[in-house]
């Protein structure tokens, strides 16, 4: 079981982020779904660069 403990975890499937990346980060532990890919970073800028390099986005429909 994978544990992501850094402030900026990235969990994604295909091009979709499972949890949004925010500057506030996550103060806790993330356990990615087994069928998801993941990474984690200490800084927001690093995480953002990773997201952009992979072409990831968080899609939560407004309606």
């Amino acid at each position: 079981m994978v544990e992501l403990t850094k402030k900026y975890p990235i969990v994604y499937k295909d091009k979709d982020l499972i949890i949004p990346l925010t500057k506030e980060g996550i103060n806790g532990v993330v356990y990615p779904a087994n069928d998801a890919e993941y990474a984690e970073f200490d800084t927001y800028d690093e995480a953002k660069a990773f997201v952009e390099s992979k072409g990831l986005s968080y899609k939560e429909p407004i309606v």
């Binding site: 079981m1 994978v2 969990v11 499972i18 949890i19 996550i26 103060n27 806790g28 532990v29 993330v30 356990y31 990615p32 779904a33 087994n34 069928d35 998801a36 407004i62 309606v63």
Partner: protein, 322 residues
């Protein structure tokens, strides 16, 4: 063959044929013209394609509020087997208040400015949707619209001061969508929604001015998505236990409390986010019953074992303990 269909975005009750009189070919150019059924009441339309569901063209003759409003759709860029959906609706049809509701139609983005506006003069249903929406003072829903279907959406609220504090929702029983984002200055008490029993989606977040007790939502049995992240709402999460259609609940960073196990019968849930709240309890029944979960965010006060974590992640659920 080009398919042209009409559908009201308004309501199950208001038929589009009641709004549009004719959809006919414009003989001299290959396009079509859409006319409202009542020449004195312009119809606003959005035209979507089956490809991207975005507004293609909305060229409304809105220069004279007493004249027939016609919509011309140029079909030159469409191809065989394309589908066109035409969504007609009344829009803020108090004709004399042109400065209040003047749709910008050039780019497919509607901008509404509503300042101390009352809908008293609207005779039939309305849609109150906009990419940007500015509300400077208050909105009043008169009682005569009891039973009429409303959709309130804004992707971006542009106002410095946005106050729904005076908004009277007490007669709005068929609100389907109440969605406001980027609303850090929005003031709204969710208690106002307790009569909106057909509410499907409520999206309100990131504002300390959003408050109220979540127990007032206990009768919203049609609710599919309730997002109140980073607001000042409070109350016992168990009050949502009977929302069998709920797919997405987000109360992170709120004052909500109670036993998370009370949601174990909300088996439609795909996303349950309750981190950074006062929610507690044992996760056992959630793990057992909520097999559709893709995201589960819980505070550290909720009891969960390593075996349960493995069960969740093993069936495709990402778990966040925060």
């Amino acid at each position: 063959m080009l398919l042209i269909k009409t559908q009201s975005t308004l309501s199950r009750d208001i038929e589009p044929v009641g709004l549009i009189k004719a959809i006919r070919n414009k003989e001299d150019s290959g396009g079509i013209t859409i006319e409202p059924i009542d020449e004195n009441k312009p119809v606003f339309v959005e035209i979507h394609s089956n490809k991207n569901n975005k507004v293609l063209i909305s060229d409304v003759s809105y220069t004279n509020y007493t004249a027939t409003s016609r919509v011309y759709l140029n079909l030159d860029n469409l191809q065989e087997n394309d589908e066109i959906w035409i969504y007609p609706f009344w829009r803020l049809s108090s004709y004399e208040q042109r400065s209040v509701a003047e749709p910008h139609t050039g780019g497919g983005v509607v901008y509404n400015e509503v300042n101390n506006y009352s809908f008293e003069n609207i005779n039939k249903g309305l849609i109150f949707g906009a990419e940007k929406l500015e509300i400077k003072d208050k909105i009043i829903f008169p009682k005569k619209y009891d039973g009429i279907y409303y959709k309130l959406t804004a992707h971006e609220l542009a106002a410095d001061f946005t106050n729904f504090g005076n908004c009277d929702f007490s007669t709005v029983k068929e609100l389907d969508i109440f969605s406001m984002v980027h609303t850090d200055k929005l003031i709204f008490n969710i208690d106002n929604l307790k009569q909106c029993t057909s509410l499907n989606i409520c999206f309100l977040e990131n504002s300390a001015g959003i408050n109220g007790d979540i127990s007032n939502l206990s009768k919203l049995t049609q609710a599919g998505k309730l997002v109140f992240a980073s607001t000042n709402i409070s109350g016992d999460i168990s009050s949502l236990a009977n929302l069998a259609n709920l797919r997405n609940l987000n109360v992170t960073y709120t004052n909500v409390s109670g036993d998370i196990a009370s949601l174990a019968n909300c088996t439609a849930l795909e996303q349950l986010r309750a981190g950074h709240t006062n929610v507690s309890g044992d996760i056992t029944n959630i793990v057992t019953n909520l097999t559709k979960l893709k995201v589960l965010n819980i505070p550290s006060t909720v009891t969960i074992t390593d075996a349960q974590k493995k069960t969740l992640t093993g069936r495709g659920c990402t778990l966040v303990i925060s």
